[in-house]
């Protein structure tokens, strides 16, 4: 943890707000999938393009592997969401979020010449919302807030006792 940082009040609140809204997005995505017993990542995986598509197809092709992928994805989204909102294990949650977003981005990179069956909700070239969210989490990794506004503050103090 980089303790040499100091923030103005507005810097702290806005960084925390960024952390919380990204957390909200993750948590809701996780809960929606959790609440739908029929949800599966198979459609998304099969729609993969780009250099890593082979990897994503192979994840989708085995029902047992797919089950693990689905479970990890739902659990990951939910835990990361909770972590970011509450500021608990914030660093772990942030890194986890970056990894998940990297997977989403790499499976559907908005590069020239790649076409997707799954409709996108905007127009993208190289940069899409996954990448922006990923970079935002990288920012939060170097400008952490959990140990100031969040459970990590309490964790830290209690552990130090």
């Amino acid at each position: 943890m980089n303790n040499s940082l100091n923030y103005s009040k507005s810097q702290l609140y806005l960084l925390t707000a960024l952390r919380v809204v990204i957390g909200w997005h993750f948590l809701y995505e996780g809960l929606v999938k959790l609440a739908n017993p029929d949800w599966s990542s198979i459609g998304f995986l099969l729609d993969s393009q780009g250099v890593f598509s082979g990897l994503f197809y192979s994840l989708a092709s085995n029902p047992d592997v797919l089950k693990v992928v689905d479970t990890l994805n739902i659990a990951g989204l939910t835990m990361i969401g909770l972590g970011l909102i509450l500021g608990s294990f914030t660093r772990l949650a942030t890194i986890g979020g970056i990894i998940l977003l990297a997977f989403y981005y790499l499976s559907h990179p908005p590069f020239i010449g790649l076409k997707y069956v799954l409709p996108m909700e905007g127009s993208y070239l190289v940069v899409n919302k996954n990448l922006i969210e990923l970079v935002a989490l990288c920012v939060l990794l170097v400008f952490p807030t959990g140990h100031m506004l969040g459970f990590d503050r309490l964790n830290y103090l209690i552990r130090k006792r």
Binding site: N6, L154, R161
Partner: protein, 540 residues
């Protein structure tokens, strides 16, 4: 400006008294001051906000879904899987015609050529997403045995023998079972004592004569569509099948398509309101799709029994083109009407119980394939059903791959039908008017959608699912089995043979299919409106 310094925590840490002995956790908590606690839990209310939002959204969705399901009364459950009888006695099959469709039906019955098994295995090894081999292995064993085969082309006949003998479902490295006997003529095969039932996948002009002959020998028949090549033989087929009390199944495997069964439920519940128009289409754009099939390199007059191929067709000198691409000539074929319209018509007959139309008009022409064919490559046929008060419009081209699908149009809603079902309310619907005004129904979103294998399809995700389903990227088959409809259709036929129950595409449905197709063809050929004389059961 007040600075919030991160070191403040560290500072506080330094100022704390050192830990003493077994200080209780409670005391530790107390030493964290109130301000720390507040800052530690500052974002917890966000969870409360999400919980509230979640509850509101669920309540809203539930309200909409309840209103909708109350209005529609449609379930999302898949139709129950049929349970078929299994008795110890194998059904002894004969295979007649083993060109393109023959091997496909044989696979549905459980028999695949060892070469083909190798190919399927290889494909599965190269691409783990290719699950055809696994699907085949998972296909239920119906306790069948192939005792006889017949094809006028030696190469095809030989493949039929190997296929029928492949009882262990093995590749070229495996051991075959007993080789079935090859018969030179279908008549000899049908006279054999060790055959109970036959699969007929010969050209169209042979369907009628072979079925009649089979029925006379008491053999059950699974016959490829269309049921007949001419109008007169249609009556004879019905007579032969009924008089000899055989089980006849016409090869419209679409009868087994789950979404069609569901579509029938929606029609029976009158969700579309008064239906006035049905649009069904065929769009293909490849030589294969236009029946320009490959000519086997080893084929010649020496290994093809040309005379037997010609049969009741007008005589023509030996022609490899005509032998392999027979669908392009009226001499052996029923054209678009018999080959593809029949599938579309039968789907609608299954769903709506249409029966034979009152009239038919057709137009079209040979616009793209100037290869000497006599059947049109573009065809439109419009059937009128006066009792049902609706039109069925069939439109086809073999030179464009644009997807048009099947649409059933009602006053209150329309249904798009493929592997999945999407029903959208009509903006001018009378029945759904109030629900549209109150926001329960949005005409832009489906009021009902069904993707086979899925239980809960909500309005939000259905657009994407629709997208996938219609392109065959179905995640409806997650972890489960993707089953070949031909297999189900053959299985139903076999079960009917064992139980004596009528199969879904029986001789009565076959009669309706054949007459409807013939009406379309006659209307095209004679360039006139053709009528069905219901009292005399004939085309006029």
């Amino acid at each position: 400006m007040e600075r919030i310094i991160l070191e403040e925590i560290m500072e506080k840490d330094k100022n704390q008294e050192p830990l003493q002995g077994d200080r209780s956790e409670e005391k530790q908590q107390k030493s964290v001051n109130r301000r720390d606690v507040l800052k530690g839990i500052a974002t917890v209310p966000v969870l409360g906000a999400m919980a509230y939002g979640w509850w509101r959204k669920k309540r809203y969705d539930n309200f909409l879904n309840n209103q909708l399901s109350k209005e529609l009364g449609m379930s999302y459950e898949s139709p129950p899987a049929p349970v078929y009888a299994r008795d110890g006695k194998p059904v002894r099959l004969g295979l007649i015609g083993f060109g393109i469709r023959g091997p496909q039906i044989a696979r549905g019955a459980g028999f695949v050529h060892p070469d083909e098994i190798d190919t399927l295995k290889q494909a599965a090894r190269e691409n783990s997403a290719d699950r055809r081999y696994q699907n085949y292995l998972e296909q239920e064993d119906m306790n069948l045995v192939v005792n006889g085969v017949c094809d006028v082309f030696d190469v095809h006949a030989e493949r039929a023998i190997q296929t029928g003998a492949n009882v262990n479902r093995v590749g070229t490295d495996g051991k075959l079972g007993k080789l079935p006997k090859r018969y030179r003529t279908y008549k000899e095969l049908l006279a054999a004592d060790d055959i109970d039932a036959v699969i007929i996948a010969a050209p169209d002009h042979w369907h009628g004569p072979m079925t009649i002959e089979a029925a006379k020998h008491g053999k059950h028949v699974y016959c490829e569509k269309p049921m007949t090549w001419t109008v007169p033989e249609t009556y004879e087929v019905v007579k032969a099948v009924k008089e000899n009390n055989i089980i006849f199944q016409l090869g419209h495997q679409g009868r087994q398509t789950e979404s069609y069964i569901k579509a029938k439920e929606a029609i029976d519940k009158n969700i579309l309101g008064k239906i006035s128009l049905i649009e069904v289409t065929t769009n293909r754009n490849s030589p294969d799709g236009a029946w320009v099939y490959d000519i086997h390199p080893d084929a010649s007059e020496k290994n093809i029994d040309w005379k037997q191929f010609i049969g009741q067709a007008p005589w023509h000198e030996f022609s490899l083109e005509r032998f392999f691409r027979w669908r392009c000539w009226w001499d052996y074929s029923t054209g678009l009407s018999g080959d593809l319209l029949t599938h579309e018509y039968d789907a609608m007959n299954q769903i709506l119980g249409l029966g034979i139309p009152d009239s038919a008009t057709s137009s079209g022409g040979i616009y793209f394939y100037k290869d000497g064919r006599t059947v049109p490559d573009v065809l439109h046929t419009i059937f009128e059903f006066s009792e049902k008060e609706l039109s069925l419009m069939y439109s086809a081209t073999l030179a464009s791959d644009k997807d048009r699908g099947k649409v059933i149009m009602g006053h209150d809603a329309s249904m798009k039908l493929g592997n999945s079902i999407t029903i959208n309310a009509d903006p001018e619907s009378t029945r759904y008017k109030n629900k549209m005004q109150s926001g329960v129904i949005d005409p832009a979103l489906p009021i009902y959608s069904y993707v086979p294998g899925r239980k809960n399809v909500d309005a939000v995700t259905s657009a994407t699912e629709q997208y996938f389903a219609d392109r065959g990227l179905l995640y409806t088959y997650r972890g489960g089995k993707r089953v070949d409809t031909t297999h189900l259709h053959v299985h139903e036929w076999i079960n009917s043979i064992r139980t004596g129950k009528q199969p879904s595409c029986n001789i009565d449905r076959g009669f309706e299919e054949a007459m409807t197709a013939h009406m379309g063809t006659i209307a095209y050929k004679e360039n006139r409106r053709v009528f069905w004389d219901r009292d005399n059961q004939k085309i006029v």
